[in-house]
């Protein structure tokens, strides 16, 4: 893989890779959200008599 990044010029043709980008963001944010919910649920369960 390249060891540098370059800004794409305006209007230039680029590879269509947005599907992977959308899937990665959706999965990562879902994992963080589910973990936050799991922490909240575990603490809530502990407080039940």
């Amino acid at each position: 893989m390249q060891s540098s990044a370059t800004r794409a010029p305006r209007g230039s043709r680029m590879p269509e890779t947005s599907t992977y980008y959308h899937i990665a963001y959706t999965i990562a944010l879902s994992i963080y959200t589910l973990y936050a919910v799991s922490l909240w649920m575990r603490r809530k369960k502990l407080r039940q008599p």
Binding site: A8, A24, I27, A28, L39, R43
Partner: protein, 222 residues
């Protein structure tokens, strides 16, 4: 009801980072949109390394002082570190597929050693659930927590030591970062936001461990 500012600040920072990465950061010329996975993948890897490094530090000091607070801290940081490593292991292959043409390569030392790191800290959490005695549990897991963190410098240096598909560092290197200014700024904001998220998770997980231990003590004394 007491409102905690840290989770709110972390949530706002992460949402702001995603908006900046999606709408206000230019596309990379050769990779297109997939390069934006960089702003999730690299901060998740940084936070995972930080989390496991802190597990090792807390575990080492625990073995010296035998303070339960350090064991709880190590346990909490290990769990949060596993969450961030899971994100690294999912976002990495999703970035690799369009750029390298494959999701995974077993000969790539950085990929495989990161997977081993994940296994070690999953084993750490399983071990904690399998030992009933609190003192033994803390001692065994402290040793595993320290040994697991020894992989971190190896993973970091693997791109220099072995043939790998991963690129050489483009930011964390002695010379100037090979990244346009807007991309570098988004990366810095992302590193800050996800580090804040780590501390928010860590504080909440630590508070859970304190409440759980207090409840166990109450039940034992009843």
């Amino acid at each position: 009801m007491k409102i905690s500012w840290l989770p709110i600040a972390a949530g706002v920072a992460v949402v702001g980072t995603i908006i900046r990465a999606a709408f206000f950061t230019p596309l990379e010329a050769k990779q297109g949109a997939a390069q934006k996975i960089f702003y999730l993948h690299v901060p998740a890897a940084w936070v995972a390394f930080l989390a496991f490094f802190l597990v090792a530090v807390a575990s080492g000091v625990y073995l010296w002082l035998r303070d339960q607070r350090l064991d709880r801290f190590a346990e909490s940081s290990a769990e949060v570190g596993v969450v961030f490593t899971t994100v690294v292991l999912i976002t990495g292959p999703l970035w690799a597929k369009p750029i390298w043409g494959t999701f995974w390569a077993w000969w790539d030392v950085r990929l495989v050693s990161t997977l081993f790191l994940w296994f070690i800290y999953v084993a750490y959490l399983v071990l904690r659930g399998a030992v009933d005695s609190p003192d033994l549990r803390a001692r065994y897991s402290a040793v595993l927590g320290i040994l697991g963190a020894l992989l971190i410098p190896f993973i970091h240096l693997s791109v220099y030591l072995f043939s790998t598909m991963h690129p050489m560092p483009i930011v964390g290197k002695p010379s100037k970062p090979s990244l346009p200014g807007e991309m570098l700024m988004t990366l810095m904001i992302s590193l800050f936001s996800f580090t804040l998220l780590y501390f928010a998770f860590l504080r909440s997980r630590y508070a859970y461990a304190v409440e759980r231990d207090a409840r166990t003590a109450r039940l034992e004394n009843a």
